[in-house]
Amino acid sequence: MTALYRTTAVRLSALYLLLFALCAAFLVFYVSSMSEGLLAQQMRDAVTTEVAGIENIFDKNGMNGLLRTLERRSRQPGANLYIIASPTGEVLAGNVLALQPGVLDNEGWTETPFRYQRFLEEGSRERHMARAQVVVLPNGLRLLVGRDLGEPEHFRVLVRQALMVALGVMGVGALVIWYLIGRNALKRMDRMSGASQRIMAGDLSQRLPASGSGDEFDRLSESLNTMLGRIEKLDEGLKQVSDNIAHDLKTPLTRLRNKAEAALGGGETPADYRAALEEVIGESDQLIRTFNALLMISRVEAGQAPAEMSPIDLSDIARDGVELYEPVAEDCGLRVTCDIADGILVRGNRELVGQALGNLIDNAIKYAEGSGGEAEIRVTLGRDDGAVSLSVSDSGPGIPDDKREEVVKRFVRLDESRSKPGTGLGLSLVGAVMEMHGGHLELEASHPARENNRGLTVRMVFPAGAD
């Protein structure tokens, strides 16, 4: 129960209960005092009217008529009080047995309620309260007309009872709501903290429960789940990188070590040593390259956008890329053609996009080289349907349809390309860069109709409206 008391829902319902009770009490008090006033006024009016009527009867019919009228009225159920007294205060006639002394002394309305006893109630000793008006008739006799106060008194009791019942109902209702809401909220919180505990224990695939009602708990669960999804993805990326490092960096490291060892054992002349050392440096440079590419990919994939994202001129980047690689391509016997639209701006990082394009052209040169007759690479930049695409095509052997998904993954190199230099990371880097820019990579055959050397076209697609 102490845990229940500590929940927000319970504290709130306690506060509401207090507020509602105060409001209800005020309302009941207000209504009862208003209606009591109204009742008292009605009673006064009725008595005043009756007194006037009786005076009228006395004027017309004299003492006898008055007595007859009073006698008749006294017999009616719930009749008013009637007394006729001598000028000195002696009761001569009426339906009242006993009366608080002094009531008849003053003319007009009695100041306060007074006690009296009726004839009919002789058996019971119960006394009643009443208020009355006293008038002096023209013949000097005193006439009292009064009304029992039982009615307003009864009303007051009723109102008090209603208030108690209402308060009781509210109290019970609040307790029930208190229990239901508090318990429900507690249960859901417990489920959530249970799930978070399992997640903290290392099971990142766990998700926080949602009831599907779309309330604030569900919204909280949803945002936390989105966050967890992101963390899980990052965690997977990290695992993948460390697996890859273990797998694919150990191989060249072993090679490096072997070379150093072989040189140590087999070196004869300083020239031998020099050659071996140069090989070792070359091997370690390759390792560094792989390492840098890996770090860069994981960093880009982690969504840590580099500080520098700004509008960049893709047309310039494409032209620079072609210009940078053209001489190498030509030396390899390749024809370089391009079709670059002017003034295409996207939001991005020049360095990364430039490097991605460089990787693609570099790949194209590697695979188109020596692919026969009209070996060429082609760079095109254009806009279709608003999306900007920058593509590099080659006339090389291409990639079989079923392997295209595969080659974008890290360290994947098709068996046919193992003989070429490379880290197996080029395309993954391009893919990661495109993802960071909100775009994607498309691979297809450059010449689908050909038998062999169908070529490969890699298209970097930037999202529409990126500029």
């Binding site: 860069m296 500080a307 520098e308 190498v328 460089g358 040169i365």
Partner: protein, 227 residues
């Protein structure tokens, strides 16, 4: 030339000290940020080589503090972080050049030589001359022995950078950075092909070679005849 190296890896520092002395460069060494700052403030150096991650005061804060004290010695930042944005933050903090670890010593040496001589190189020189080769930065013309050599705009920038740093080794990555404004590793020999094309233009029909390949390092413009 006198340089200060602020590097907490003592083995690396010892290796650098030996290699720099062999290259004829006088050097002081500090192994943490605070003593590096003290030495750089008290003495006068041509170049500071500052590791980015240092005990007691990190490299970037050391550089900012120096600049705040109005000391404008060129600084080369060494860093194990080699990403695009790290370079940007490094240069923004007041560094003049940035070299990611691991690096080739020849690369570091070449960059330090260029930084150290920067003070003396008049940026406002309108004409660069190496031997009988002449490059006019205003009219964008190149002449050798009075004969004009037509160059593509990029070839012009390449030659301009080489001639500005005549007598010094310029590495391939320095060329890619300064002529193409890219900082990645181009992997293939793209730069070599550009340089050899430029070389054939300025050396064809002439006996005297001007653009030398420095094995394992890069290129150097030098008037061999002048020694």
């Amino acid at each position: 030339m006198k340089i200060l190296i602020v590097e907490d890896d003592l083995e690396a520092a010892a290796y650098l000290a030996k290699a720099f002395r062999e290259a004829g460069i006088v050097l002081d060494h500090a192994s943490d940020g605070e003593s590096g700052l003290f030495l750089a403030t008290e003495n006068s150096y041509d170049v500071l080589v500052v590791d980015r991650m240092l005990p007691r005061r990190d490299g970037l804060s050391l550089i900012s503090e120096l600049r705040a004290r109005n000391i404008h010695t060129p600084v080369l930042i060494l860093s194990a972080l080699g990403q695009v944005d790290d370079r940007v933050t490094g240069l923004r903090a007041g560094g003049d050049d940035y070299l990611p670890k691991p690096y080739a010593f020849s690369e570091l040496l070449a960059r330090i030589e260029v930084l150290g001589r920067r003070k003396g190189t008049p940026e406002q020189d309108m004409v660069y001359r190496v031997g009988d080769l002449e490059l006019d930065r205003l009219s964008h013309t190149v002449k050798r022995a009075g004969r004009e050599i037509p160059l593509q705009p990029r070839e012009f920038r390449l030659l301009e950078y080489l001639m500005k740093n005549a007598g010094q080794v310029v590495t391939r990555t320095m060329l890619l950075e300064n002529v193409w404004d890219y900082h990645f590793d181009p992997q293939t020999n793209v730069i070599d092909v550009h340089v050899s094309r430029l070389r054939s233009k300025i050396e064809k029909d002439f006996d005297q070679p001007l653009l030398r390949t420095v094995r394992g390092a890069g290129y150097m413009m030098k008037d061999e005849a002048a020694g």
